[in-house]
Structure formats: C-alpha cells, structure tokens
C-alpha cells in the first residue's frame, strides 16, 4: 500500500523506488540536484549523432515510462528522432510517442508526416507499423488523416496491412464517435475479406463499433463459420461470441419442442445435400421452401436451419483448443445454441480446463456452476473431477462445493455426502462452513437424505470448533422448519447447547427455533427463557431480540409459567442501550399484555406471532445467472458490465434464411476453394461421429446399394476417403492423386450410375487445374493437401449432378412404407424425412411398428455417446438389439455386429452368450478371423469364438462367444484380427443382459421379495409413456430392456418379472405396479445394489420413452 501511494506522485523524481533506473547512471547526482534540468543529460544524448547514445537514452526513457515516471518534458527531444534510421531507436520513439502524444498534441503533429510517408512504403510491414502508430496517437486533429489512412489500408494488397486497418478502426472510433458511419463502411468492406488473418480483427472492430448492425454479418456468416478453424485463437473467441449473438437472432430455438429432439447428429446427413443445394440454381425453390418451413415452424416439427448446424459443426473441433478462452467460447455457444442432446460434448472440455491455472479454474467453475443448474446430467459423469483437494485455494474449494451440490441427486448423494464428511474435518474453516451449508442444501433438495443429513449435522453440534457448531445450528434451523414435528428431540438437544455456544448467530437461531416450536418442547422452553433472562444484559443484540421473541411466544402459549419471566425480560429491554431493542420491547408489550387500553390488535397476537412460517428455500447463488451470456464478465460478476451485449431471445419465427445466400457470381468465383474448405470441415465431423452414428451410416449405405440408387451420401464419400488415405499416407502427392483417380474409376462403376460417371469425367479437368493454381498461390492456409485432393472431386461432382441425384433420392426415399411421404412433396419435407430416417440395420428388419419411438432411441444413442448404456437398453421391440462392434469404415470393409442372444452359453454357464455377425463388405476375401489380446477387468473371463478361416467378399458369417462379465458392466476389450489387420474392439453389456431368466411362482416371488427389502429394494415412481399403458406393452418393454421372465400374478395392476444374474446367481425381481393415468411404480429387488440401481434406470427409460 505504501508503495502504491508513493507512486501516485508521478513527478516525484526522488521517490525511493525511482532510484533504480538512475542507479547505473554515472551522472545521477546531477539529476537529483535540480528538478528543473534533471533530464538534461538525456536530452544531450538524444541530440547527439551517435545512434548508440540515442539508444541508451531511449532505453532509459522507456524504463522511466515503465515505472510510471513522468517523462513528458522530454517530448521535443524525443520527437525529433522519429525519423531516425536505426530501427530500434525508432521503435522506442514510437513507444514514447504513443504514450505522450495525447498530452502534447501540438508537438505530436510534428511526427505525423513521417508516418504518412511510412504509409506509402513499398514494404508491407512498414506500412502496417506506420498505420499502427498513427492510429494509436490519440490526437483529435488528425482524425481526418487517420480516416483516410484506414480507408486506404483497408484495400491494401497485403492482408497484414488490412488486419492493421481493422485494428485501427476501434481506435479511431473511440477518438471520434462521429466517424461511425464511415467506419461502418470500412468494416463492411473488411468483413467481406476472405483471409483468416483479417477475420478476427475485423469482427473485433465490428463488435466495438457497431455490434447492433447484425445485418452486416448475413452475407459473411457462412464464410466466417468456415474460416473459423484457421483464424488465430484470439480472433476465434471474438468471432464465436459474435456468432452466438447472431444465431440467437436468426435461428429458431432448437429446444422449442422438447419431445422432438431427434434432429441431432442423425440429421446432419441431409444437410450436406441442402448445404450445396442452396448454391445451386434451384436456389429459388429452396428459398420458397425455407420461408414456408419457417411459417410452419410452430406446427411442424422443428428442423434446424442448415446454417445453424454449420455453426455448431464448425465450432465443435475448437473444444480441443489449447486456449481456455476458445474452449469457453465454444462451450457457451453450445450451451446457448445447441439442442439439449448435444450440449453434453462441452462437459469434457470444460473439465479439462480444471487442470489449468487457478484463475482459469475460477472462471470455468463459475460457469460450470451455472450450467449444472440447467443441465445437471451433463456433468454428472465427471462428478469426481470436482472433488476437492486440501491444497486448492479456498475460493476454488467453495466453487467446487457449489458444483458438487448442484450435481447431487438421489443416486449420487451418498457418495457426495461421504465426500463432504471428509471436508468437514478440513483445517480451512471458511470451507467447512461452506460445506455445512452445502449439506443443508442437499438435504432440502433431496428428501430422501434429509434425515441422514440432519443427523450428521446434529453430530457436528458437538464439534469443538465454535464456527462449525454455529454454522450447523443455522443450517439445522432451516432444515427443521420443514418438518418440526418429527424432530423435537433435536430441538431439545439444541436447547442444551445454549449453555455452550457463544456465536451470536447460532444462539439467536436456537432461541428462534425454541420459540417457534415451543409447543413441541413445552417443558424445556420456559427453562431456556429463564436462563436467557439471567444473561440478557450480556447478550449481543440479535440474541436479545430473539429472547424477546421467545418470551412473547411463550407468554402467548404458556402464560401461566412464563408471565413473570416475560415481564422481567421486557423490563430489562425497556432500558437497553439499543433503540431497536427498546422499540421491540415496547411494541411487544402493547401487543401481548392485555390492558384496558389495548387495541384490537392484541386479539390477533397469537396469529401474528405463531403464524406458520414457510420453510426457507435454499437456493444456489448461481440460479438464474444464465440470462447473462456464459463466459462473459457480466455473468461472472452477476451484474451488467459496461458494453455488455444482451443475449437476445430466440425469435418466434425464423427470419428469412436466404439473406445469408451469397450472390451467385461471387460465389462461383471462389466456389472451388470455398467449397472444398467446407467439405474439409465436414470431414472431421463425420469421422468424429463415426463411432456414434455408426449404425445409421452403415445402414444407410446398405440400403443404398440395396435399392441400387445412389444417393451418394456424404458419409460414404468421406468414408472411402479416409480409408484410402490411410493406406497411402506415405505416397507423394501427385502419385496419390493419380492413384486416387484411378481408384475412383475402379470404384465408380460399382457404385454409380452411368450418367454420373460421365459428368464426373468432365468435372475432373477443371478441378485439376484449380488445384494447380492453388498449389502455386501462397494465400491458401496450411491445409492438409491430401484430404483436399480426395474430397474435392466428389464435391464438385456432387453438386453438378445434384439435380439428378435428388430425383433418385426421392425415389429411393419414398420407398420406406412407414412414412407417408409422397413424391410430390416439396424438398423441405424430404429433408425432414432424411433427418428422421430411423436407419434400421438389416438384421433388425422386423419392421419397427413403433417407428418414431425407435427413432428417439436411435438418435439419442447417437448423440449421447458418453452414456453407453442408454441406446442399448431401451430397445423398443422385443427383437434382439444389435450393437456394432466394428464399423465398416474403421474395419476397412469388415463389419461386425453383435447381439446378446440370451441363450445359455453351453461351454460355461456363467458366461453371457454374445452372437457376432461378420459381414465382409470389401472386394477381397478376409482370412483367419480370430481374436487376440483380450484385456479384461480382474475376474472376467472370455471364451473366444472359433476362428473363421475364410470370409469371402460380400459374405456374412456368424459366431458365438462367451463372456463372463462378473456381473459388472465393464467392457471386455480385445483385438479382432484378420490375416492382415488388427482392430481394437470392446463389448460392453447393458445391465439387462447380465441376467438370465428364471421361473418363479407368485408365492415364491413374494417370499423372495420379502427377503430382499431395505437396502436391496429400489423403488421409483414414474409416468408411463402414452404408448405403453397396457400390460402387453409393459411386458414387452421390460423384457426388451432386461433378460427377465414374467412371473404370473393375480392382479392385473401389477407385472412381475424375475431373473438371476449370470455370474453370481443373485435374484433380480422387478415389479411394475400401474395406477391411474399412466402413473406407475417400479420396484427392483436385488442383492447386488449396483445392478439394481442400473436396472432401475434402464427400465425407467424403457417405460417412459
């Protein structure tokens, strides 16, 4: 503190710390001798002819500036050197100029001509640096010069100069806001710039000068999305934040229709088609439909705007950025814009940031805390990452605690409470207090643990630390208010504490409790009052007030015993020093003690004092913070910071999406590159979703070939692309390209119809040319040439033959009988269809009667890649569910699917039988299929399937293997080997497959159930899905979710099921009791609690979906 105050005195050259920079100066003595000419030596050095002297002088001057010393009197001497030849002197002079020009405006003008000359320099770096310094000089007179310079630089050839121009815009704007209109023109021009170097800076300028002119973004939206990944990291943050706001004004809320969340990764497919459509000549048609769709948005199922999807898709890879700010920006974008089912992807990245510096942790945890309130499920899998270490700083601890509390629910509360118990013993008392409050909040939110928590807190009352006790009392008070009848013993216990606890807040809380519930403790209450009356004069004010309260309440309920005591207390209070207390005493006396004069009020005294008080709601301080844009300063402070741009609400109806269409001529000019880019960005997306959306894709391509159509979906393209790429990694580029085209030709006849092939031939030539050009030109950023060369041919070909393809698509698509889509239906609805295509894999073909339902499950499975179980166990039909073990693309043509056949595995009864189905989709035979290198959790065993010696191309074979999962859902990992390749695969069983059916009679069932009570019983209330309210449907769904058999039952309101776990033969009993209106109760009895809990979840899902 003292140091800082010393510094405030800028002119004080003799300030103690100031000596440092003069220390090496031989003539320092002179400097201090007279303040008047203290910088004479520096001036001399600056005036000399030697650069070295000038440099030395400038260095010392800069050091002065750095220390916050005033060096403004040197301005004339310094400014002369602005034209100095020596680069370093020049640089330091610039530093000085920028710092002092504002104070010495007239003199600063002397330097302007130098910069103006610099602006014309042939070297782009000199032009840029001249503009940079010129625009940093905050002198109002030169505004016109700056404006001119910026305008000129904005159309400079060098992107670096243009970038500098973008940087200069906000500087000029802050200097003279009058220039706004002209500056907007420049911004508009720069926004159209196609280089990544400029993009970030110009958006920053846009945000500062005219964030409200969202219309300027329309035409550049797609370009910005596509460039994003190559923009430098700081620019990315600004662009992402701006696009979040943009998307909020232009697109519809993806969660508008909660039940129809099914769009999602499955929907992407369509949109490649549509993405390209828009740039095609049937643009017009497209527009029409879009408008129509928007109009119908209310009635029709929600369809995500392709541009909205583009944004989500292109920002996703940035979650992998090393820059925490970028990750946070993407996270908030997903939180505010993505469909609920997709938001989950950000959790992992945010959790990763928790490893970073503590400041980063601090900010991230604040945002996570807000997110956990809205989307708890997202972070649940990462619960343990929020566990607290004794070495964390207190502020981090408290935030982690907040997150843990938000994450608490019925299933994890026991773990969390156990964790809290360790925290209570911490040496950091602030943290302990926060923990106690957290326990209180858990107890109010989760009814099941309220008693446990209460008991735990009561135990804390005997803690040695007074703060801990006090905090517990306060929290207990709040908890007791919820159900006081049950806890009179606790109240008694607390009454005893008044002798020991000295913390005023705690004493006051206890007294309030006793007063409030004096009827529950009729004997103790008067006694407490007696003691308090004795110590009244020594109490703190809040305690005194509560003593008066207690006295009043007792007087009203039990005046016989307490009349005198009350009088005494009131008398003491009458002469208290504090006027609040005197007031209170006077007021209460009038109210409760009947006198002749007492007014109408005293009749109601009882009502006034002993009214039922509502229990307090313990809420997170982070509730409702999400109306601030996450990741913003305003969110963090929970107050609007200056310049904060409100996050707009979603529009009711989508604004016209065609505004983002770019004029055709311009588009064609850049199309080849732009498109290629687009395609490239798509690619990772696909391969990323490969694992998740596997079934859909394979199914798709399957049906493609089946119908002999060729709707050449993007997935197929990228699939084959990556396949060949990995083979040819080491090839040089040209070679590769040649090969590729050969390959293409080889492949095409199989996959494609004649007409397309010819159009493709034509395309290739210009394509190649453009490639050559491209490799010549420098401006292309660091792209992965390989992937480009692959994707581009297909790209252009796709778009060329688009119309044709589309027709075919229509034919193919209209085939599935389940959806009543007519050929004549317009494009939009076709897209829909594609979106919601249920993608049955060939094996599951028993046509899904519950189509939309299966769809839900399929798509959920796709998007929630983290929860391995969900898609598996909610199979809608009783048909065996197939899982994918090896995708066609990763398997290089080999597809492996598996299902749990639910047959006893004959070689070993403790194993679960897994049926594998191998399909060879490649053109060559696969030999000696076998498994190797099995990695298992301890105790697990595997019986390998017999080696398949030969699997000819196009053939399918099946085999059975057995796995003893030891009654756990741990995955069995192994390698699947062919004669050439090895693939890592893993089989993870849904919990329902870990059991086998067993037949019980009703009586046996009841008997067994009687023995599996208490901890072994889990009961859950639920509302049955509308389609699942008859007995048949329930049985079907439960047996689909788990391998259980029906147990006969007299009542038609109950369905019972029984099974035994495969390894340990523990009984698993399931009861579904139905009530009116779809209400139902699910009971699972199982000795293995883990299995029980998981099974409950799965069956719940199956019955409610």
């Amino acid at each position: 503190m003292s140091a800082s105050s010393a510094f405030n005195d800028d002119k004080g050259g003799s300030s103690s710390v100031g000596e440092a920079e003069y220390a090496y100066d031989p003539v320092s003595g002179k400097i201090f001798s007279s303040d008047y000419n203290r910088h004479d030596d520096l001036k001399e050095m600056l005036d000399s002819n030697k650069d070295s002297l000038k440099l030395e002088a400038m260095k010392r001057i800069v050091a002065m500036i750095a220390r916050g010393k005033n060096a403004s009197d040197l301005f004339p001497a310094v400014v002369k050197n602005v034209a100095c030849k020596n680069i370093e002197v020049k640089k330091l002079v610039y530093v000085y100029l920028v710092r002092y020009a504002e104070e010495q405006q007239d003199l600063a003008l002397l330097s302007i001509s130098t910069f103006q000359r610099g602006l014309k320099d042939p070297n782009q770096l000199i032009r840029a640096s001249a503009l940079r310094v010129l625009s940093s000089i905050r002198v109002t007179i030169i505004v016109p010069i700056m404006m001119l310079a910026i305008k000129e630089a904005a159309s400079d050839m060098s992107p670096y100069v243009r970038k500098t121009a973008a940087h200069a815009i906000p500087k000029l704007y802050s200097l003279d806001p009058e220039q706004k209109d002209q500056l907007i023109e420049v911004i508009e021009k720069l926004l159209a710039d196609k280089t990544t170097l400029v993009a970030g800076s110009v958006v920053m300028a846009f945000e500062e000068v005219c964030p409200e002119r969202i219309d300027l973004i329309h035409k550049n939206y797609r370009k910005l999305c596509n460039l994003l990944i190559d923009v430098e990291e700081w620019g990315q943050v600004v662009i992402i934040n701006m696009l979040t706001r943009y998307a909020r004004t232009q697109f519809l809320n993806p969660n508008i229709n909660e039940s129809l969340l099914e769009e999602g990764s499955g929907g992407d497919k369509t949109f490649y088609g549509s993405d390209e459509d828009e740039d095609e000549d049937d643009d017009e048609k497209e527009k029409e439909k879009k408008a129509e769709a928007a109009a119908m948005a209310k009635r029709k199922p929600y369809v995500m705007d392709p541009d909205h999807r583009l944004l989500l898709r292109n920002t996703k890879p940035l979650l992998q950025s090393r820059n925490a700010a970028v990750v946070m920006a993407v996270a908030q974008l997903y939180f505010h814009l993505a469909p609920k089912a997709e938001v989950g992807v950000i959790a992992k990245a945010l959790v990763r940031l928790l490893r970073s510096h503590s400041e980063v942790q601090f900010v991230v945890l604040q945002n996570v805390a807000t997110m956990t309130i809205k989307r708890r499920g997202m972070f649940e899998p990462y619960l343990k990452s929020f566990y607290i270490r004794s070495t964390d700083p207190t502020q981090i601890k408290v935030l982690k605690l907040e997150v843990l509390t938000n994450l608490a629910n019925e299933t994890n509360i026991s773990t969390i409470l156990r964790e809290f118990q360790t925290y209570i013993k911490s040496m950091d008392k602030d943290f302990v207090a926060a923990t106690i409050q957290a326990i209180g909040r858990c107890a109010t939110n989760i009814g099941e643990v309220r008693d446990t928590c209460l008991n735990g807190l009561v135990q804390l009352l005997s803690n040695r630390d007074e703060l801990v006790v006090a905090e517990s009392v306060v929290v207990i008070k709040k908890l007791l208010q919820m159900q006081p009848e049950k806890h009179s013993d606790i109240i008694k216990h607390m009454a005893k504490l008044t002798d020991n606890i000295q913390v005023p807040m705690a004493r006051a809380s206890i007294l309030w409790l006793i007063g409030e519930y004096c009827e529950h403790v009729p004997k103790i209450a008067p006694d407490v009052l007696r003691k308090m009356a004795k110590s009244f004069t020594n109490e703190e004010d809040i305690v005194k007030l509560q003593i008066i309260n207690l006295a009043a309440k007792l007087y009203l309920t039990n005046s016989k015993q307490t009349k005198l005591l009350t009088q005494y207390v009131l008398n003491l209070a009458k002469y208290d020093q504090n006027y609040d207390i005197r007031d209170r005493a006077r007021f209460i006396r009038q109210l409760i003690v009947p006198t002749e004069k007492s007014g109408a009020l005293s009749k109601y005294a009882k009502k006034l004092f002993l009214a039922l008080k509502p229990a307090p709601v313990l809420e997170s301080p982070f509730k409702d913070r999400d109306h601030f844009q996450l990741g913003s300063l305003s969110h963090l402070l929970n107050a609007k910071a200056g310049g904060y741009q409100e996050l707009p609400d979603w529009p009711e109806a989508a604004p016209d999406p065609s505004v983002r269409n770019v004029e055709v001529p311009e588009w064609t000019k850049c199309s080849s590159r732009e498109k290629r880019k687009e395609k490239k960005v798509e690619k990772p997306f696909y391969s990323d979703s490969e694992g998740e959306s596997g079934p859909t894709e394979s199914a798709d391509s399957e049906s493609d070939s089946a119908t002999a159509s060729d709707s050449r979906s993007g997935s197929e393209e990228s699939g084959s692309g990556s396949e060949s790429e990995s083979e040819e990694d080491s090839e040089s580029e040209e070679e590769e390209e040649e090969k590729k085209s050969k390959k293409k030709e080889l492949k095409k006849p199989v996959q494609e119809s004649e007409s397309e092939q010819s159009s493709e031939e034509e395309d290739r030539k210009p394509e190649k040319k453009s490639k050559q050009q491209k490799s010549d030109s420098e401006s292309e950023s660091d792209e992965d040439e390989e992937s480009e060369s692959e994707s581009s041919p297909s790209e252009s070909e796709d778009s060329e033959s688009e119309a044709e393809v589309k027709k075919k698509k229509k034919v193919a698509e209209s085939k599935p009988p389940s959806k009543p889509v007519k050929k004549e239906k317009k494009e939009m609805s076709l897209l829909d269809l594609d979106d919601f295509e249920p993608a049955p894999s060939p094996q599951v073909t028993p046509v899904n009667t519950l189509l939309s339902n299966s769809l839900v499950t399929d798509l959920e499975g796709l998007s929630l890649s983290d929860s391995v179980l969900s898609p598996a166990t909610i199979a809608p039909s009783s048909a065996l569910k197939n899982y994918e073990l090896l995708h066609r693309i990763t398997g290089e043509g080999l597809t492996v699917e598996y299902c749990f056949s639910r047959q006893p595995f004959s070689p070993d009864a403790n194993m679960v039988a897994v049926q594998l189905q191998f399909t060879n989709n490649s053109s060559s035979d696969t030999k000696s299929l076998h498994m190797e290198d099995v990695k298992l959790q301890s105790g697990m065993r595997v019986k390998e399937f017999p080696e398949i010696e030969l699997l000819p191309a196009g053939e399918t074979a099946s085999a059975v293997m057995g796995i003893d999962f030891c009654d756990s859902t741990q995955a069995a990992n192994f390698q699947l080997c062919t004669h050439t390749k090895k693939f890592f695969v893993s089989i993870q069983p849904p919990v329902g497959e870990l059991m086998r059916t067993v037949f019980l009679t009703e009586n046996e069932f009841k008997k067994e159930q009687g023995q599996l009570m208490g901890m072994n019983e889990i009961t859950e209330k639920l509302t049955l899905d509308a389609r699942c309210r008859n007995e048949h449907a329930i049985v079907q769904r439960v047996t689909a979710a788990a391998n259980l058999s029906r147990v006969p039952c007299g009542s038609d309101k109950e369905c019972r099921f029984a099974g035994r776990t495969v390894t340990s033969s523990s009984l698993v009993l399931v009861t579904v009791a139905t009530r009116e209106e779809g209400a139902a109760q699910l009971t699972v009895n199982c000795e293995k609690m883990v299995i029980g809990t998981m099974l409950v979840k799965d069956i719940l899902l199956a019955l409610t979906q």
Binding site: M1, N8, S52, E56, A66, R67, E88, K91, R99, N123, Q124, S135, S136, R138, S158, H167, D215, I229, E233, A294, P317, Q320, S321, R322, A325, M328, A349, R352, H357, S358, E359, V360, V363, Y387, S390, P393, T422, M427, R464, D465, L633, L637, A639, A641, G642, G643, Y644, P651, A653, A654, P655, D656, K683, P684, S687, D688, S726, D782, D784, S787
Partner: protein, 442 residues
C-alpha cells in the same frame, strides 16, 4: 419477416445511442510484486492512474493468502483481472465487457513469453530487462487486442537476450531488435518462422504423464486420473511436415492441441499431423479417463495421531512400491502441511532427510529412490502447543515422484514420419511419469 428484423435493429440502435463505450479488451497492465510494489505499468490506451490498484491491494489484504485473491474485481469504473504467477501479480485493467478467460489466458501467455525469453518470470528478471519487456508488451497487444502471441514470431522481432549479445551490445551499441523485418506475421503458418536452418536436424518428444489421485485413509483410490502432455523440441530445417502416430491412441480420452496440429487428421486417423514451430513447444495435452483403471505406483502406510492428553503426537510413514511396471520410482518426496498447533517435530528417517518449516508448518521429507528391499520409513514424535485442543483432522500427505522411461497410462509413440524435406532427422521419444496432485488423506 424483414420488417421484424428492421424493427429489432432500430430498437437496438436506440439503446446503443445512449452511451458510447470507448474502450475494449485490455486497457492497462500493472506488474505487482508479492509485497505490493508496482514495478511496471503499460497502457495501451489512455493512461489509467495506478491508484486503481488500491482496490486490488484491499482485496489482497482481505484474502490473506496470495492464492486466494479473487482474480476478478469490480471497481466503480474499471474491472481488474489478475493472475498470480511466479510470486508476481499480472493485473490488467479493463473497462468494458470482455470474456474474463480471454484476459486471464492472455496474461498467462505474457508470463509464458517472459519465461521463454528470460528463463524465468520473476521481478528481478523483468526489472533487468525492462526495455525488452516493454517492447514485447507493445507487440503482443495492439489497442488492447492480442496481436502476436506466438513466441516464435516474437523472437523473430525482438531477440531474446543472451549473455554474449548483451556484452556485444554494450560495446557496440547494437540492439536486440531483429535486423530483418519479421515475416512470421505474414506467413500462412504464423507459428513458424521461415528459413530455419540447422546442421543437426533433430526432433525430440517427451511424453510426460502426471497422476492426479486422491487416496483415502484405507488406501483405496477415491479418484485417479492421468493428465499427460507431449512436449516437443523440434530443430528441423526448412518446412518439415511431421506425422506422429501412437500405438494406442484410443487411450486418450480428451485432447487439446497446439494450433499447428490438424484437427481433421486426428479426428479421422488418430495421428498428429503438423508443421512444427521451431524450438520448444507443447504439442498436445491429453487426459486418460478415470474409467481406465489408473495404476498407482506407490502405497503409503501412515499413522499420524495426536494424543488427547499431553502435548504430543506420533507420526509414522512408510512408502512402498505398488504398480511400478518394473521401473524404479525416483525423486520421491513427501510434503505434509501440519496443523498450526504442531510446534516442532522429532523424527528419524531411514532414508533421505526431512525438514520442518516452522512458519509454514510444512514437513518435507525428501527420499529419493525407492528401494523395494528396504522401504523408506519416517517415524517419531510431534510436539504440540500445550493447552490447545488436538486438531480435528490429520493433515493429508502430498506425494511427489518420478518414474523414468514409463508412461503410466501405457501410451506409446509408434512412429514419427517427416514429409516435405529431404534430410533424415534424429528422432527421439522419452517417457516420464510424475505425481501430479497426488494426495493421501489420513
């Protein structure tokens, strides 16, 4: 619909006309020593008086512990965002809305740059190189918006000081500013300078993994995960295009990359394909999920007790190998933060030596190599302040250790390929496992 849009715009404009916000992003930066001395200030816009720091000092006073100073403070006219690095506070002043992480991340980047330049980031070093520091700050931020933050680019513009150069400079009056104009800013790969030349072309990669774990009293693991980084030191001429592939990339649960890594290749093939920056850099960091069982290399047998009566306590700790994958555990160190009431300790160690810092109450036992035949043991008594009740909780034990030539997750680099250049580089990979936040609760 168009009408609607226009209406919105008009309304927005109406709101915004009310006030014009002058500044954005980072306005000023103050470097403050841990004692509270403001030893450097830099303003990118109008000068903000250093008295604004008083709010910070107030908060610092209140927080007590330096690590507990809130990183973001609100003052009547400004917002202060600070980070604490190397006993220094980097305090930035912003005036308007800005993503806080943006500033925090940038300040850390500044500190990293100082580290790169001067080998450390401390008060003395910054004071000694104040001119270079100032030049760096000038380059890194333009009008409060980050400009050049890649140290490769910065090094091209402003040369880092070396002893030789500083001697030469003082003699000749030469400078540490690059003679040639930098091209890094302009190139399509902003993180690599052009025209790099080495006689020995070499590329080394260090796979460093840290085990974060919480082990409870009974020795069961409450929480464990592995955080890894791949640090690279690449000194290759020209524009090499490298591809690094792993034997078992599936282990990696979550990854983040240096900007040079091509996301798409990773997504598609699980290989790292990149044109490297010149010199040292962090190629990627990754996370091995807690689902995979994490091998805990050592076990700790401990017994710390404080006696209810009398003012003393006992301590006994033995450390033994658990899952070391056949490697030796080295640089073993135990840190215990004792409760305040522990006045002194009287212990004997069978191996290594211990120190007890009376002011911080930190007991540090440096063990060194772990010999499985003769387990290191530390035992003895603790003397407590008399008259003070015994501490509620036993202090938790923090472990440090190193295992050379092992990545505990089992991650293995399978190969490194180079394209784009003709020569044959030396390649090398090193593995190292360390304890990260490894805590044993007692």
């Amino acid at each position: 619909m168009c009408c609607l849009l226009i209406v919105i715009i008009i309304i927005n404009e109406g709101i915004n006309k009310g006030f014009i916000v002058a500044a954005e992003m980072i306005n000023s930066l103050f470097l403050i020593s841990h004692t509270g001395d403001i030893f450097l200030e830099k303003h990118w816009k109008s000068v903000i008086s250093r008295s604004v720091c008083d709010y910070f000092f107030e908060a610092k006073e209140k927080a007590g512990d330096l690590e507990n100073v809130p990183p973001i403070l609100q003052t009547p006219h400004h917002y202060l965002i600070s980070v604490y690095r190397g006993k220094l506070f980097f305090l930035s002043v912003v005036q308007t809305e800005v993503p806080p992480l943006f500033v925090v991340e940038f300040l850390h980047r500044v500190a990293d740059t100082f580290q790169d330049y001067f080998g450390e980031c401390s008060e003395t070093v910054i004071k000694d190189n104040v001119v270079i520091v100032y030049e760096l700050l000038e380059e890194m931020l333009d009008n409060g918006f980050p400009l050049a933050t890649e140290s490769n680019v910065l090094m091209e513009m402003i040369r880092p000081p070396t002893i030789l150069r500083s001697v030469v400079n003082t003699l000749t009056g030469g400078s540490n500013v690059g003679e040639k104009l930098p091209t890094g800013q302009l190139s399509i790969i902003p993180w690599r300078r052009a025209g790099v030349k080495y006689t020995n072309n070499e590329a080394y990669f260090d796979v460093i993994e840290e085990i974060d774990a919480i082990v409870d009293k009974s020795g069961t693991t409450v929480f464990a995960e592995i955080q890894g980084v791949v640090e690279a030191c690449v000194k290759l001429s020209g524009m090499p295009d490298l591809t690094l592939s792993f034997m078992n990339p599936r282990l990696l649960d979550d990854v983040s990359f240096h900007p040079c890594v091509r996301f798409k290749r990773w997504e598609a093939d699980r290989v790292l394909s990149f044109i490297p920056p010149d010199g040292n850099f962090r190629l990627m960091s990754y996370h091995v999920s807690s689902q995979n069982l994490v091998a805990i290399p050592v076990y700790v047998k401990q017994n710390i007790s404080f006696l209810e009566t009398g003012s003393c306590g006992r301590l006994e700790i033995t450390i033994g190998p658990k899952q070391t994958m056949g490697k030796t555990v080295e640089a073993l160190m135990v840190t215990i933060h004792m409760p305040k009431s522990v006045l002194s300790v009287n212990l004997t160690a069978t191996q290594g030596s211990y120190t007890y810092d009376l002011t911080t109450k930190a007991l540090i036992w440096t063990i060194g190599k772990l010999n499985p035949q003769k387990l290191p043991n530390l035992r003895g008594s603790l003397s407590m302040q008399s008259g003070v009740p015994k501490p509620e909780e036993n202090p938790s034990i923090n472990l440090d250790l190193k295992i050379q030539q092992l990545a505990i997750s089992g991650l293995k680099v399978s190969r490194l390929d180079m394209y784009g250049e003709k020569y044959k580089p030396f390649k090398g990979v090193k593995y190292l496992t360390k304890a990260g936040k490894f805590q044993v609760r007692t």
